[in-house]
Symmetry: D2
């Protein structure tokens, strides 16, 4: 605990941040962090010198490394943002923690439950030191649903729709760990987040339409507090990135509807046309990455638990695995 | 006054109604009256035997005449619905009143202001005996706007959009008395109805796009109570019958938006399509004719003034004429 | 077959109809039939003389009976509308068919699958003679979804939301046969109607919130053609009668959204308020009963199968039973 | 012309920009410019050392001056952004042009028409060198309306609603030049932009509700190409910043509706609540400032006229003055 307190005390004005991994999601986080006034991105690391060069030119970052370990040893860095491929997460998270950095790690924490459990068991104060990137929790619309939940009375049904605009490449699909670990995991986390409870029953059915794997699925959950939940996922929605949430309670309903690109309406002879949806997650969830970074900083400053933790990562992965089992065995899975 | 009280006393259970004129608007009123439980349509009249035959067959009306005077002399009739062409209105209204009938007359009461004034001056209790058909006042949406008006605080701006789906035939257009007397008159009445005040300044500009007359116009009104109002009319709206009302007040805004035929949404690759609007007034204002008839009956039963009177007809016609003058002289008209 | 052809030949101008049962749903059908020009309701029957009296007074029906058998033996009647309590359906349908009447029967045809099967097995041409009242198929919005289905490409997910505004009385609940036979049966039929296929896998989970029975449920179906479907039902939706349908296809999505009572919008300081939904089925599905009656008449005139048959009733009941089993056993049910 | 070509040639990679005036609108432009990759804000100037200090700390700008003339003489600056109070615009624009800088100037260019005319007459190639900040033209929604205008056929009616959320302070109101020069000028420019024509007739009426000046107004315009236009402005809209545009054409209608803060819907017993509008112009038009800056840069790189010029500023001011005259004289003003 000593070390953490030291680290926290260091954080006076601006939090000094290093980013490991400059691929797509790394760029998203870097852009989000650059909009904040109380952080300084002081170092970056990637195995690709080209990516480093491009990023330094655009953002004038003073320190850059091809070896992430050099970044982890840079003394003045308070917090590390791990945006590397999943296979590196476990090692980098551990090393960052052992170097007394606050750590933000993209989901999934690891493909193997046992490794996530190892992390959880190795650090008693992990929820004060490691935040896992379930960015949708910080989307302003979904966060508003969560915040206003008590206004609908006791919740009874949660419905989540989450559909990607187009199926991934065959290669990506193969490496992704399947639809449940790759796509549904976000929605399973959202269901836990909204319900405030843990799942006791899981059922999943699915179909193959665009790929060689299950690419369309319906998941049904029953939570310990009695809430029942349906998630529908599809690897393809030709009309755009469909992201909806709805909660029915004893005294009302609250929903977060899709975001359209414009508010333009076109009145033709045969219909009234409104705008398509935001195309994909970079646009749809742009603000969520900024809010997520703010929450990371706030938690550090206020010395409180991060709002999405290693345990959340573990529970979401357990649920994703249960979906896969249910699909295969055509049975309800009891947790 | 004696006679009216007698007439009122006769009305015990069902109000007995005769309809003069079985054209399009006559059929609309007949269909509306047939949905009500406390009226009996006991007689109809039209110069066309074919129309009479068709109507009797469909609705089994016991009495029918080609001469409307016979209907007016039928003793057991309490109220007469005048749905004949405008040129007959004045004479038939007078004769009906003189036969101690309650009268409903379609707008306009007459093309000439002087005749409407003659009617008003001839019957001291006219507002208890004659209702004029400004059906839009009874549309459930517009009536809701009126009813909830105090919730937005003192009103400051009224905006009315009223566009027909397609321009009338050249012949109709010529006989119609022009866009202000034919179309705008409904909106001018709506503006008076919503404002609860009288106009003191009128300006109109317009353009000819589809016909040889002004077919597109913007009307601006200033009311004595300070409210300012804009009306936009067009003889053509290729996307359907566009009927909207909006009131801005000190503490909020209330609006009545268009009605779509269905609530079906179609999500394509390039847009999200919703249904077109109700095609024209028969569909859009169907319910208003039923509510109008109910209000007619209620006023009789409760011995109170009708909710749209000869004076309303007069004022709307005065405004329509002022619009025409403003357009011609390119000046503000002061009333 | 002779008899049917005779019956069909009798139908020249107006179809002569008798109605058995004048309770709530009987009144709905009577009102719907009275809006149609090519039918005559010539006889009614109910065990309650009061209901008969009230109905004759309102609609001037020439023949009325407290014994439905007299109605079935009235020679000039072409078609019989069975709106009595469920327990009478089987007997009355049989007797009506045996009297060579066309028959419309409200759902459910019978609480017992075996009786429905008996009917199906007893009349080889049953689908030309008996229509079962799945009125929602004829709702203009849902019918539009069905009609335009090919525009979204191969369907993959169907989602149905169907929630009553308030829970039934304890007594009704007890007699209703449970949520699956009472409420979900409509949605199970809708799923079959939209999918154009039969179910092979059923899963249901539920919870008890407002009553002593399951009153909130999620049903998941897998159809033989690969479509997967989610139905969510609740005995209570404090905000009104929530009835939605959505179909995702390879090339788009089509949905039928809720109907609001008005199109009025109220802009306050803290939100923009639109109208509540239609309160319950009498209002929401009013038009569907009219369209249903039209389809009944059209099928007879064109000598084609009715659009909702005894087999549809059987399949929906099989699915409702499967839901109950799945819930109880916490297992997927294979059909 | 030599000088301009030189200036253009200097622009190789990043455009070097200096900003004069760091008040509210200066900060908006600075934030917008910092999101762009092909510009460098290399200098700022303000009379307030505090504002300079705060801004340098936040954005690390290398050069800063309390005397704007020093900025104008900084050789490596390509373009100057004039965000000072209106009274300085004329002098600073002239000096900047005379120092061979490209100039972006916030509207209004000057309160006096004669000075704008002086500028126009002094520089033959002014539209290649000076852009005036009518930011709403670059709002993605309004720009979409403009871009798709040909899809609705010949335009006949333009309607613009533009209402501020709350009235300005008495002091601001007094200095603002009145509602027409302060608020309506944006909408008058929008009307010209959308119509692609010049106005020949102007009428304005108004009322005083919240301030000692006209704070609520309806403007009617007739354009040379026959389009008629209504603008409604209010200094107060308790429900938020109301910004709408609608164009009716021969073959359809296109509109830009308001932006709501979230897409959350709340279903209560008495209504369905959606989110309030974006609160004010900083939020509502955030993207427009970024797009405006992009257009400025593009025009320079492609050596083409700026999309909003001194002539646009002149015409909008002429219209604002005409509105004031019409209101005062209660007459139509002919231009």
């Amino acid at each position: 605990m000593n070390n953490i307190n030291e680290t926290i005390n260091k954080v006076n004005n601006k939090l000094k941040i290093g980013i490991i991994g400059l691929g797509r999601i790394g760029q998203v986080h870097l852009a989000a962090l650059k909009t904040l006034k109380d952080v300084d991105v002081v170092a970056i690391s990637d195995i690709s010198p080209d990516l480093i060069k491009k990023t330094v030119e655009e953002y004038q970052i003073p320190n850059f490394y091809t070896d992430y370990r050099l970044l982890l040893h840079q003394k003045d860095i308070d917090a590390v943002w791990i945006c590397s491929p999943t296979t590196y997460h476990f090692t980098q998270v551990k090393e960052a923690l052992d170097n007394n950095k606050f750590v933000f790690c993209e989901k999934p924490l690891d493909a193997e439950l046992s490794k996530i459990e190892t992390l959880i068991n190795s650090y008693s104060d992990l929820s004060l030191r490691l935040m896992v990137g379930f960015n949708r929790r910080f989307d302003p619309d979904f966060a508003t649903v969560k915040k206003r939940l008590q206004e609908i009375g006791k919740p009874v049904i949660i419905k989540i729709t989450s559909r990607d605009p187009f199926p991934p490449s065959a290669e990506y699909s193969r490496q992704s760990g399947g639809i449940y670990n790759d796509m549904s995991i976000h929605d399973l986390d959202m269901a836990r987040f909204i319900s405030g409870s843990e799942v006791e029953e899981v059922i999943a059915i699915g179909s193959k339409n665009y790929t060689e794997d299950i690419d369309t699925t319906l998941i049904t959950l029953k939570f310990k507090n009695g809430i029942i939940c349906n998630i529908d996922n599809s690897r393809k929605a030709s009309y755009g990135y469909d992201q909806r949430l709805e909660v029915l309670g004893h005294d009302g309903m609250i929903s977060a509807e899709n975001k359209k690109i414009t508010n333009v309406q076109f009145y033709s002879d045969s219909n009234i046309q409104s705008s398509v949806l935001e195309p994909f997650f970079l646009e749809r969830y742009k603000q969520s990455y900024i809010e997520e970074a703010k929450e990371f900083i706030t938690a550090i400053k206020e010395k409180k638990e991060f709002p999405s933790t290693a345990n959340d990562a573990l529970q979401a992965s357990i649920l994703a695995n249960a979906c896969g089992q249910s699909l295969e065995k055509k049975q309800m899975i009891f947790l």
